[in-house]
Amino acid sequence: MDKKLPTIEIIEKYCKGCHICVEFCPTKVLEMKGFVASVKNLEACIKCMQCELRCPDFAIKVTA
């Protein structure tokens, strides 16, 4: 597997804390920190982009 880590940007002023990205990330990369999503375990990211696709608020960007 490609060892280069992706960049995951969370735009905190857009995040509404819905938990969707956290819950449906297949490798549990993300967590909630208070009311906003945050990156917990970047190494586990498989760059599937599901978090970015499902975030209703344009608040998460994954750059592989």
């Binding site: 819905c18 938990h19 969707i20 819950e23 696709l53 209703p56 344009f58 750059t63």
Partner: protein, 272 residues
């Protein structure tokens, strides 16, 4: 590479007004990706809506947009398409807007087979006004106007569209985000009236009343009930109980309205 949505959004419009976990944002992103795939030009694309939370969508997009009267998206869009048949016209709106007050416009646009796409964001409720039942609220479900459970059967929007004469009908869900843009791309490419129903969630006015503990439970329900067309073909009616079939459900070729109308104009001018 992260997808660049900003290119299609009017500057300064985000964050949007939708509640945490409302699927309307997921549908809007799917529509933007579809427009990007199709390469639709901003000045040659009209996005038209009625009234409701779903109908707020065009206000965010940097295209030719019309936010019209409740239920009237299809009527205004028909006007746009008749005046400028070369434009790409896409209607968006809720289940209430499209199948209650706007049900009449919706079915007749289907019947005419005018070349445009209508996206119904079906969250089974009137979200904007506080959760009154819509024609798409399931039997037994609670709404502010059905506190003891809804006695009415619900419309199946896709079947309604097929019955009324739409020539392309597809269904997806807010959970299945990658499928949304694919369905919209196919719908827009189809020459005729195309309908894409997206099963959506309104955690604020539907979820809370109907014992969904969270947005995640609502998303999981969408995940669980969806069965792709191909898989459904191999299932028995018993196995399909409580499921909803997703994908392209119907497609046929039939004369398109603006092309037929152009012929009427020619005849009126004395040609044949």
């Amino acid at each position: 590479m992260a997808f660049d949505y900003d290119k299609y959004i009017r500057p300064g419009k985000l964050p949007h007004i939708w509640c945490p976990g409302c699927g309307h944002g997921i549908v809007m992103k799917g529509l933007i990706r579809a427009i990007d795939t199709l390469g639709l030009e901003k000045n040659n694309t009209a996005i038209v809506s009625g009234i409701g939370c779903a109908s707020r969508l065009p206000g965010y997009l940097d295209f030719c947009t019309l936010h019209t009267a409740h239920g009237r998206a299809a009527a205004f869009a028909t006007g746009v398409k008749m005046a400028r048949p070369e434009m790409n016209v896409i209607c968006v709106g809720g289940d209430g807007d499209g199948t209650a007050i706007g049900g009449n416009h919706f079915i007749h646009a289907c019947r005419r087979n005018i070349n445009m796409t209508y996206i119904v964001m079906n969250n089974n409720i009137y979200g904007m006004t506080g959760g009154q039942f819509s024609p798409c609220t399931p039997t037994g479900a609670k709404a502010s106007t059905t506190p003891y459970g809804n006695p009415d059967p619900a419309f199946d929007v896709a079947k309604l569209a097929i019955g009324a004469g739409a020539t392309f009908v597809a269904r997806g869900t807010a959970y299945h985000a990658t499928q949304i843009d694919k369905l919209i791309v196919e719908a827009v490419q189809h020459k005729g009236f195309s309908v894409v129903e997206i099963l959506d969630d309104c955690p604020t006015t539907y979820g809370r009343r109907n014992k969904f503990k969270s947005v995640i439970e609502m998303m999981n329900r969408l995940k669980d009930i969806a069965v792709p067309v191909k898989a459904a073909e191999k299932m028995t009616p018993e196995q399909l109980q409580g499921k909803i079939i997703t994908g392209v459900l119907f497609k046929e070729e039939r004369p398109e309205y603006t092309a037929e109308y152009a012929k009427v104009i020619e005849r009126a001018k004395g040609g044949k």
